[in-house]
Symmetry: C2
Subunit: 197 residues, 2 copies
DNA sequence: TGTACATCAGTGAACGCGCGTTCACTGATGTAC
DNA sequence: TGTACATCAGTGAACGCGCGTTCACTGATGTAC
């Protein structure tokens, strides 16, 4: 076996990426360390050469996965014309494909409630990414003809996605996506008479 | 030991109630059967005389706890004057005490994302309670001077609470409660020019 | 009224299993001489 | 150019533990006679 100079760094990155996907898909507690390592072609013993504990990986994977999703949304929105970006954000976030593909989707909707029960360090890393996500919403609003409270927008987005994923009824699930879109749009106000801050 | 005629029914009820509180507080996976039974003064072996499996208890406890919370909200709103009930619902749902007391609070915000990963039977029981909760919102709107889409209102409520609980920053958490209230109010439209359905 | 018995809610030890974590070891590498 | 050695990413068996679940048993009860 040959190790390039940044081989270990690359291995670590693969573990984090795999964990961030599976934590969103299956839940943080449902995915074991051994299963995670075999998922990247390694055995369990090597895990602790990369991370102090499973909790440390949770903090890093949830943070990195969240950041990656934020970056992917940002890149996508940059391809859309100014003035139509907020609509694109809403439609992408509350799309059936986002609902059905949690592994690569919003970390808040997938693990927000769960992470609220985790240790302070994990929650602090998560909070930083929540702020980054709010920052993206604010940026997106900057080029629009409307103004809005990013936290209110984020709340309506997250709640609609959680509800659409939780119910066992396709019609109701689709209805939550549609209602969510309308709810978010209701949060957008014209700038002239807008109530800033 | 004397057993009254409905002694076992009462014991079962206590198990379900204890489970519904602890599942919301600590998470469904974090609470074990043995711990649950000792919490109501019994030993683990007796559990399977009441439930077929832990999953069966999860379905029942999440359903019963959700129904109880809906009933408590309904009873509270009935004490409020007509025309002020929607405001009371919003303020109660997005209050610091609801955020800080998950054990007796909304099942969607506490376990919605997690339950979406559970078996069909569990999700079906949960979905019925989501519909009951939407029904309460519709009922509450009936006596108000505004109209709204119950699913949009529910989404904004749930998302704001999940976010307020997940972040490790008191100021930001309070801001999510406030922003959530404003977002929900933005979903309320006057009835005359209201867009029904 | 008193004894024998069926009932059944609950006991508590045990089952196999997978968890997170530890650690002595492997074996391919680049370096020293 | 060739041998000896330190490095270190990864191995794989083992640790104690708590999980969900099973089951032979207990012991207070109401009923039968």
């Amino acid at each position: 076996m040959r190790y390039s100079k940044d081989h270990k760094t690359e291995t670590r990155r693969r573990i984090v990426q795999n964990a961030s996907r599976r934590f969103r898909d299956e839940g943080v507690e449902a995915v074991g360390v051994a299963s995670l390592m075999s998922g990247v072609g390694l055995t369990v013993g090597g895990f602790y050469a990369h991370f102090e504990s499973k909790e440390a990986l949770i903090a890093e994977a949830c943070s990195a996965g969240f950041a990656e999703t934020t970056a992917r949304f940002r890149a996508y929105l940059d391809t859309r014309p100014k003035g139509k970006r907020m609509a694109a954000l809403i439609d992408a976030y509350l799309s059936p494909s986002h609902r059905d593909n949690a592994a690569e989707g919003c970390m808040i909707a997938a693990n927000g409630a769960e992470l609220g029960r985790h240790p302070q360090a994990t929650r602090a890393a998560f909070t930083a990414q929540v702020n980054a996500w709010l920052g993206l919403i604010d940026e997106t609003l900057r080029f629009e003809e409307v103004t809005a409270d990013a936290r209110g927008v984020a709340s309506a987005l997250v709640g609609a996605l959680v509800l659409a994923r939780s119910v066992d009824d396709h019609v109701l699930s689709d209805a939550f996506l549609d209602s969510g879109k309308r709810a978010v749009r209701a949060c957008l106000t014209p700038p002239a008479k807008g109530e800033k801050k």
